[in-house]
């Protein structure tokens, strides 16, 4: 297989689009297997495979036809995987906080709806009762939609401290809204 890759890659470099298509198609099973062993969530696997294919497309001119294709390919695949995890890590941190927020408030929203009260008003009043730093952390993350890093920088605290502040804020809001 690797020898076939070498030959197809050499042809692709000279502009043969059929060979290039065949090369990319023949890479798919290997890349899917590579990614499947390293990415747990099935939903993300195909995204990572596509990103690797795009990177292969971009970097193809750096491949030297006389050397084996596999080390070149897996260097790029590993790089793209690490990059994916870094980006995903940042997004997850946001989603985690959003999930935290939603999990804390969805039952309250329901109950507030049942009482035909405006959740926005209730939340506004509850926010006013929060300690200043907790309120600011919640608003920066939820109202201004900043990332944890950006919000932490604005408040001049570490990312962990900001997460703690936001989490305490959510708990306090939950308790305030429940008691109203």
């Amino acid at each position: 297989m690797e020898t076939a890759w070498d030959a197809l890659a050499a042809k692709a470099q000279s502009g043969d689009s059929e060979a290039y298509g065949a090369l990319l198609s023949s890479l798919l099973p290997a890349l899917r297997s590579f990614v499947a062993h390293r990415v747990r969530q099935p939903d993300w696997r195909e995204d990572v495979v596509q990103e690797i294919l795009l990177s292969v497309h971009k970097a193809l001119p750096t491949y030297r036809a006389s050397s084996p294709f596999a080390p070149w390919l897996y260097s790029i695949a590993r790089y793209r995987l690490v990059d994916f995890y870094r980006r995903r890590g940042r997004t997850l941190a946001r989603e985690e906080l959003r999930g935290d927020f939603a999990a804390n408030f969805s039952p309250i929203v329901d109950s507030v709806d049942q009482e035909e009260a405006s959740f926005g008003d209730a939340l506004g009043l509850a926010l006013a009762d929060l300690p200043e730093r907790q309120r600011r952390a919640v608003l920066l993350l939820k109202q201004d939609d900043l990332s944890v890093r950006e919000a932490a920088a604005q408040m001049g605290v570490t990312e962990s401290s900001l997460k703690v502040l936001a989490h305490r804020g959510y708990k306090a809001l939950k308790s305030i809204l429940r008691n109203r």
């Binding site: 502009g15 195909e46 596509q50 750096t62 990059d83």
Partner: protein, 211 residues
């Protein structure tokens, strides 16, 4: 988009495109770097005793170690920008060896200086450091540009090598200019800042080299 559709789309876009081969990229960088070191030393002013320094073993040894470090760090940084060309796990031991040789030699000279008599201070060498940084700028920019044209896959390591290589160029330029012979001065102002510059470069690399 389905992966098969993506493949169909990008395979239609293929066209023969060449990037500079690593050897040519390295040649280009060495030309720029040695040019920068010579021009830098010329602009700053050659040491007045430069002609007679050929007989000084210490001077020649330090110059040789600097050139070795420059060539090794530059070569590694160029090779790292081409996927699969260099084993990333060799980078740190290799750089460590050459940096260690240079700094070790300076420490050896320092011990020799101490045997001759007490050393009062390293002297003020902020201008030396500024000059090294100024001479390093063009080689660093060139290496970053060359790496960005390729496909670096170890961003921080690659940028660390770029920082070390560029700093070595600056230190070589200063080697022709600075007339202070004391090993302590050379260690504190010409060599030790390499650690900070390498670190800054490595962190900058994550943003500058990402593709």
């Amino acid at each position: 988009m389905k992966t098969e559709d993506l493949i169909a789309n990008i395979s239609r876009e293929i066209s023969p495109r060449r990037v500079l081969p690593p050897a040519a990229a390295l040649g280009c960088w060495l030309f720029v770097s040695l040019g920068s070191a010579v021009v830098g030393a010329w602009c700053l002013g050659l040491r007045t005793d430069f002609v007679s320094l050929g007989g000084s073993r210490r001077y020649v040894a330090e110059g040789f170690l600097l050139v070795s470090l420059l060539v090794v760090a530059g070569s590694v940084s160029v090779l790292l920008a081409y996927p699969g060309r260099f084993l990333s796990r060799l980078v740190l031991p290799l750089l460590g060896t050459f940096i260690g040789a240079w700094m070790g030699a300076l420490c050896g000279f320092l011990l020799l200086d101490l045997k001759r008599g007490p050393i009062i201070s390293a002297g003020w060498g902020a201008d030396c450091l500024m000059s090294i940084v100024m001479v390093s700028v063009l080689p660093a920019v060139t290496l970053f540009a060359l790496a960005r044209r390729a496909a670096p896959t170890h961003l921080m390591l690659n940028a660390l090598c770029i920082g070390v290589a560029a700093f070595a160029v600056g230190a070589l330029g200063l080697h022709f200019h600075c007339a202070v012979e004391g090993a302590l001065h050379r260690f504190v102002w010409h060599a030790a800042p390499l650690v900070a510059v390498g670190g800054i470069s490595a962190f900058a690399g994550w943003r500058l080299l990402r593709w």
